[in-house]
Symmetry: D2
Subunit: 345 residues, 4 copies
Amino acid sequence: MFKVAVAGASGYAGGELLRLLLGHPQVQIGALTAAGSAGDVLARHQPHLPALADVVIQPTNPDVLAGHDVVFLALPHGASAVLAEQLDARVVIDCGADFRLIDSVAWQQFYGTEHAGSWAYGLPELATAEGPQRDHLQGARRIAVPGCYPTACSLALAPAFAEQLVQTEQVVIVAASGTSGAGRSLKPHLLGSETMGSMSPYGVGGSHRHTPEIEQNLSAAAGRPVTVSFTPTLAPMSRGILATCTASIAPGVSVDDVRAAYENAYGTEAFVHLLPEGSWPTTGAVLGSNNAVLQVAVDERVGRVVIVCAIDNLTKGTAGGAVQNMNLALGLPETMGLPTTGVAP
Amino acid sequence: MFKVAVAGASGYAGGELLRLLLGHPQVQIGALTAAGSAGDVLARHQPHLPALADVVIQPTNPDVLAGHDVVFLALPHGASAVLAEQLDARVVIDCGADFRLIDSVAWQQFYGTEHAGSWAYGLPELATAEGPQRDHLQGARRIAVPGCYPTACSLALAPAFAEQLVQTEQVVIVAASGTSGAGRSLKPHLLGSETMGSMSPYGVGGSHRHTPEIEQNLSAAAGRPVTVSFTPTLAPMSRGILATCTASIAPGVSVDDVRAAYENAYGTEAFVHLLPEGSWPTTGAVLGSNNAVLQVAVDERVGRVVIVCAIDNLTKGTAGGAVQNMNLALGLPETMGLPTTGVAP
Amino acid sequence: MFKVAVAGASGYAGGELLRLLLGHPQVQIGALTAAGSAGDVLARHQPHLPALADVVIQPTNPDVLAGHDVVFLALPHGASAVLAEQLDARVVIDCGADFRLIDSVAWQQFYGTEHAGSWAYGLPELATAEGPQRDHLQGARRIAVPGCYPTACSLALAPAFAEQLVQTEQVVIVAASGTSGAGRSLKPHLLGSETMGSMSPYGVGGSHRHTPEIEQNLSAAAGRPVTVSFTPTLAPMSRGILATCTASIAPGVSVDDVRAAYENAYGTEAFVHLLPEGSWPTTGAVLGSNNAVLQVAVDERVGRVVIVCAIDNLTKGTAGGAVQNMNLALGLPETMGLPTTGVAP
Amino acid sequence: MFKVAVAGASGYAGGELLRLLLGHPQVQIGALTAAGSAGDVLARHQPHLPALADVVIQPTNPDVLAGHDVVFLALPHGASAVLAEQLDARVVIDCGADFRLIDSVAWQQFYGTEHAGSWAYGLPELATAEGPQRDHLQGARRIAVPGCYPTACSLALAPAFAEQLVQTEQVVIVAASGTSGAGRSLKPHLLGSETMGSMSPYGVGGSHRHTPEIEQNLSAAAGRPVTVSFTPTLAPMSRGILATCTASIAPGVSVDDVRAAYENAYGTEAFVHLLPEGSWPTTGAVLGSNNAVLQVAVDERVGRVVIVCAIDNLTKGTAGGAVQNMNLALGLPETMGLPTTGVAP
């Protein structure tokens, strides 16, 4: 059994981590910490976790987090970098952005602060010309969990880039996310009255912070720089990301070539599934699971590949990805404790 | 390992059964059957269950269902009664209504057909003066799973009746259900365009078929006849029941008496939880779990107890209750394979 | 043309008032005021009102509100009472609670502050033994708009009380409201992630402040004191109230008697409609309209009348009711400028 | 007063037409017709229209539709073409697709039937190098109302093409629509249980029938052929389209050039609004109105313009557009009877 702490236990990512960790056979849950809600019992913030209802949330600091085998950080941007240096845990897994980007210039451009550095990037299934990227996660001690959008978008497009089936420019992604992706922030546009029955875009024009992370992943897949037009939208649902990803097809590439690339990339993956022809992903079908489901199409009229990917932003997109990384880091079976069935309808 | 078949595998109850059975450590999934969708692969109807994606649905008949330790029936009203007689399984668990009612007159009044008889009624936590009703389920061979509304309403009110804290008349229940309670029926009022952003009542005036079942349970708890005014409503959500249950308080009963009765009834239950004072149930917090959460209040101005109960209609209200009953019938731990954490937010 | 000001123009009630006033042929919109958002253009808070996009919100004070024929107050509890004394407008219409209750004791019990007094109560269709209550609103100078729940619940039950068809005790109401009823408050439980897909109760046990207002109206209808068990619930939709209202039927009363009472009470009303037998109200069908739709049933098994009423909480339940009152106060046709078609689906 | 008939009065487009026509000061509503629901009262299908509750739906045929000044056709694909020839009305306005496409080859490719011809295309604000296209609609006798997606997408992109600011290839559009866009079809994937909480794509790879219509409009704007990658998605809401439209920017074009083009195109339009910088469209803000709201951004990193447009698919996207066309055809003020305020929140 590994003793695990969660920093940021009162937020949505923290709650999802705890939901999954409660079902993990090799985990003992230790300290739960937060900032503003320290001193509260967990039930006040996570009523869906009755097994932990009476646990008192402690303040987030190195002393409270000491003595654990694994510490998950589910904190606001910038908070992880400072804290991480002071942690003694064998494995630290950051669900935030602080250590995702390799490129300091991109970090400063999109985040506006000093770059804290980069950790092993935790997307095991990320396709490259050399195969998926899980090797560097096995036994890793510090792991940066991908952002929710980059998870969906990179899984959707990386195989096409890894096999040079598409061009590195004119990549366009439009993705819809449930509101939990914005966390439990008290902002007017996140109220139920505003979000129910309404869709809205944000970060339009390339300003969303997940843009350079998507480009980093696709460039790694392609072996050369890839640029992306990325537009996120907010959808009237709590959970889920549906990413519609399109790219200009390389000359002579057929739809069979494309399908073959995805079957090759994901045929043996436990969580990433190319659907049979004629079926299309829905976020409902992956709700609560660690699955990513994809379908590909080629629009020959306009010479474009369209790949649609659905994930649960809190599971595969955050906490499920984090637990998957923990399993790799600890030498456990990669799929241990992770649900592969969605909660539908 | 027990070999389990599901008849009605393409519906919502069938899908939820399979979600839970896939996570059950003592179950091997056998035949999946249905009527109209026989011949299809399961993925076409249950895309959230990738582990069973390629299983071909077989027709529902005794031959296909033969040779299993357990058969779950998730069929329309009336279909179970005919089929059940022909099944050789050690345990048959009916998620439909056919065998729930003891009273043939009530059956005919509300269902309009001949009464097929009654099986062991599968609500283990149902409070009576003699304690919860799980004994008769241990080792049972034929079990009728309660209706979704009766599960919520009976858990909400039975302890008060079992301890004679409320009066047997003037009981009023108004409950809201998600649309999955109506199954995958192609009816205009169940379209997303009609249900999103709208609430509506149905079965008003006591005509809903769950009314006599609720009365049967509360009468068992009280040890004398109880009548109920029950109004169900359709809420704009896929899953969940919120039942607001009120009864006239008996003379001299205090709020402490009421809380004590519920603590006494459910204090050791794994799935039924009286929330701490000041917390109120939400259906969101129990989504996907086998939990029922309750809170009680006494309105002294009008002399009424108000108990609110939230469940997931497909889990505790149908498939989770069914698996809990299977565990009891097979002598397995009652909680085996059943989620106690909700998928929230 | 009458010059009209709205205090509280950046909230949901204020926005709905402006939506309706923009369509009113005898109104010229004057000052728009608010507290925290003074100085902003209206578009920032009410993007659905392009005709007023560039209007700058002014601070709420008597000087800004001076010189108008009509002032609507859409302010938090307690704010209206202080301001109202200083207003010179011919007609002041308060959408808040400050002047709704006649009984100072009830006010202090439920609101905990000193009672500011009572204004003409603005529910023109409220049935009493002497007929509807609109006379005292014609030419009134100060009008208190009913709360949203009291509007639905009183329209649902008053005719039965006015004709002594039901008993004054054992009245039970459970109502579901969309989230806009809570205003634009930044509270965690009102976030989209919490409200979508979830129902929850609040104010259980008789503590909701609309309880004494409902009792005041029903007592006026009955001509003797009526007490009510009232439980509100929050539903996953932006707008709408569905009120399920039940009462114990008086001896010898038939369902025909009940229908006749409602046909008699509302047969000539423009906004309140008893549906044909077999049809039931949905909040979707009244969205955006000033309609209240009702249906009645008698549950003979338990001797109860069940009346269900659907309104749009922001229209008939707040701003539409307010404009209807303005029409009466100014001597305009009562229905002027008020939509009688819903926006569905 | 003009006498107006609606064929297809029991569907969603028909219901929305009637909602708008009831508020139109120059219209007298005549025959309401349908196929399967002929003989029913309208209330059974359109409960939001109490003013027409008792109108009996007649069968759709030329005799019933004879003698009207205007006939609106809100029928399934293919039904309009046959019927239209037999209508004697001065003005016939088809909300279906039959007469939208000029190109017979494109028609046959996407619809698979014989092309019925083309009528005046009813998007008055469609920008071209010669200005908006409303002239040919003034006094027109036969008008094809644009599809809902083409309305949003063409309004979003046409000004950029009309001023040659973007390139005619590599145009990518991803749009989200509410479920009412699919009509009242009884299909499993349109059930509330399936659509609530879930997003899904359809028609991926360029197969959606609105694709050639979008291309037709943008080609008209550009004065040369434009091709489009178009992916529609189904969002968990009843109404609304959010279209995210991107194109490769022409060399030397600045964001100021782009904004100027849109201000120029829509500055005097009543229904189409470029939002102020910093504001983004939401479908909630236009619900129930005839407005289209847009915002533009230039992503300089990747050389792309991103324009987002929100409309109500049933209002501006169907019935509101149809009434706007009727106004033009009859010589009435273009905006008569059309709401310009949304129903929000």
